[in-house]
Amino acid sequence: MEPMIRVENLTHTYSAGTPFERNAVEGMNLTVMPGEFLGIIGHTGSGKSTLIQHLNGLLKPTSGHVYLEGRDIWENPKEIRQVRFQVGLVFQYPEYQLFEETVYKDIAFGPGNMGLEQEEIDRRVRQAAELVGLPEETLDKSPFDLSGGQKRRVAIAGVLAMEPKVLVLDEPTAGLDPQGRRQILGLIQEYHRRRNATVVLVSHSMEEIAQNAHRIAVLKNARNFMEGTPREVFARAAELEQAGLDVPQITRVAMALRRRGLPVDTAVYTVEELKDALLRLRGGAAHA
């Protein structure tokens, strides 16, 4: 199957030619398959925000290529706006971009820029609002009268309304309380399931990524560090910890048990899995 997005040997240098020159991304590779839920994780300054701004052509690679469905997105720089409609990018704290008088108009900004018919825009706005769980009556309100969590939903709906092929979210839960976090992740998961959509979720919380992503790419110091399914990545939990990255709580419990002499599998990241692993161990011990 052809990848949806393929990043090849990407390097991006900020402030080239000045004393402040630095590579935010260095020789990075990444593939996103259609229908996949990919998690990208890394420290602040690991290059994740720079990387995702290349996926929709907001930044141009200093060297390397970004392919969308097999075509280099910079093949025709004049058409770069089309790429932005196909790869929807939700920035960190997206509620700070709201500017229209009503929620409806703000969600309609993206589809309007696409040059769609009024009817189609209307359909998309209503559908996007429904997807993020905004009640019908909020559409006529000013976005500035909403609560923080609702503002964020409006901002996400503004990107969803473009009906992008790939949805990329940069720390969509930053600054929310646990309940708000669960709700936002829930709606992303729901969108992914209902549409069989391709989703890229950037986060620095292992917990969040572990519970949602099919595959995880770990970045460190502007380079690829690790990649694989959650099981594969967390099987190398010790390396992650050494690299100063977070490991899910359950994995930490398993690792602690192992350090105390219990030969438990550490590639677990949910309560269920740890329970199964422990039960297996007991079963095994009983047989011995």
């Binding site: 907001l58 920035f91 500017f99 900004f109 820029n113 503004g158």
Partner: protein, 268 residues
């Protein structure tokens, strides 16, 4: 991108010029201007050029930066020179075509005017190049403090200036972020008619204003939480102190200015 705009012209460094007290530099530049406006002869301009040249060399500010600073005033300089060249009375140089409108006196005036403006700008720029905006504000506040006697809010003005300067980079970064976010939704800032482009700014300006107000509000709250109540009885973190070298530099410039006045009166 937007980050490349240099605001405030400060070139960090640790040369003698950088380490001088900001008040010294401000006063010295005033004296330098007095001297400059009293210079009338080749000798006096020569002295001032040596002084300015020495300061530039000591400051280690790249010559390119200084000439770049002159770019915006090239038109004014050229205009002044041309006007002086043609409209100063006196004996024409020769009786051919354009030269008949130009007198020797006009030529001298034009050149000295040009030199005067260029040297004035270079001198003042040298101060902003070698003094951080914050210490410049500190120096200004200190120098203007006698005005407090007539109820002029010197401290408040200085505080407003430092806060404004402090927020410029923050707001530039914010603008960058908002622009990217709106571009991600297909906003187009580069093409279209003038009106379309002006309209395209609304999605940037509205969030930017909101965020600026939010930041101002947060800052005000934070200041109140720490019981800030203006300049009355307030001490500074970095106390400005004149050192011997400051006095020497100031003395030097005072002599320079006095000397220039004396030379002019003596008709040299």
């Amino acid at each position: 991108m937007l980050k490349d705009i240099t605001l405030g012209q400060f070139f960090p460094g640790s040369t003698l010029l950088h380490r001088l007290d900001p008040r010294t530099k401000l006063l010295a530049v005033v004296l330098y201007i007095v001297a400059l406006f009293n210079a009338t002869s080749v000798l006096t301009y020569g002295i001032l050029m040596v002084v300015l040249g020495t300061c530039i060399c000591v400051s280690k500010v790249p010559a390119k930066a200084l000439t770049r600073g002159l770019r915006p005033v090239v038109v004014i300089v050229a205009f002044t020179a041309v006007i002086n060249l043609f409209f100063t009375g006196g004996e024409p140089i020769a009786d051919v075509f354009l030269l008949r409108h130009i007198s020797a006196k006009g030529l001298v005036t034009a050149i000295s005017m040009m030199l005067r403006i260029v040297m004035l700008i270079m001198g003042t720029f040298l101060v902003t190049y070698t003094t951080s905006p914050i210490s410049l504000t500190d120096g200004l506040e200190n120098l203007l403090s006698p005005l407090k006697k007539v109820r002029f809010p010197v401290h408040e003005m200085a505080m407003m200036m430092s806060i404004a300067l402090r927020f410029i980079p923050t707001l530039i970064e914010e603008t960058d972020k908002i622009m990217s976010a709106q571009k991600a939704r297909g906003a187009d800032f580069e093409t279209g008619s003038l009106i379309q482009r002006a309209n395209a700014l609304v999605p940037i300006l509205v969030p930017l204003f909101i965020s600026a107000f939010r930041r101002a509000d947060e800052l005000a709250t934070a200041m109140e939480c720490r019981c800030y109540n203006g300049g009355e009885g307030r001490t500074a973190l970095h106390v400005l102190r004149y050192r011997p070298v400051d006095l020497a530099v100031l003395g030097g410039f005072a002599v320079l200015a006095a000397g220039m006045v004396a030379l002019r009166l003596a008709g040299l």
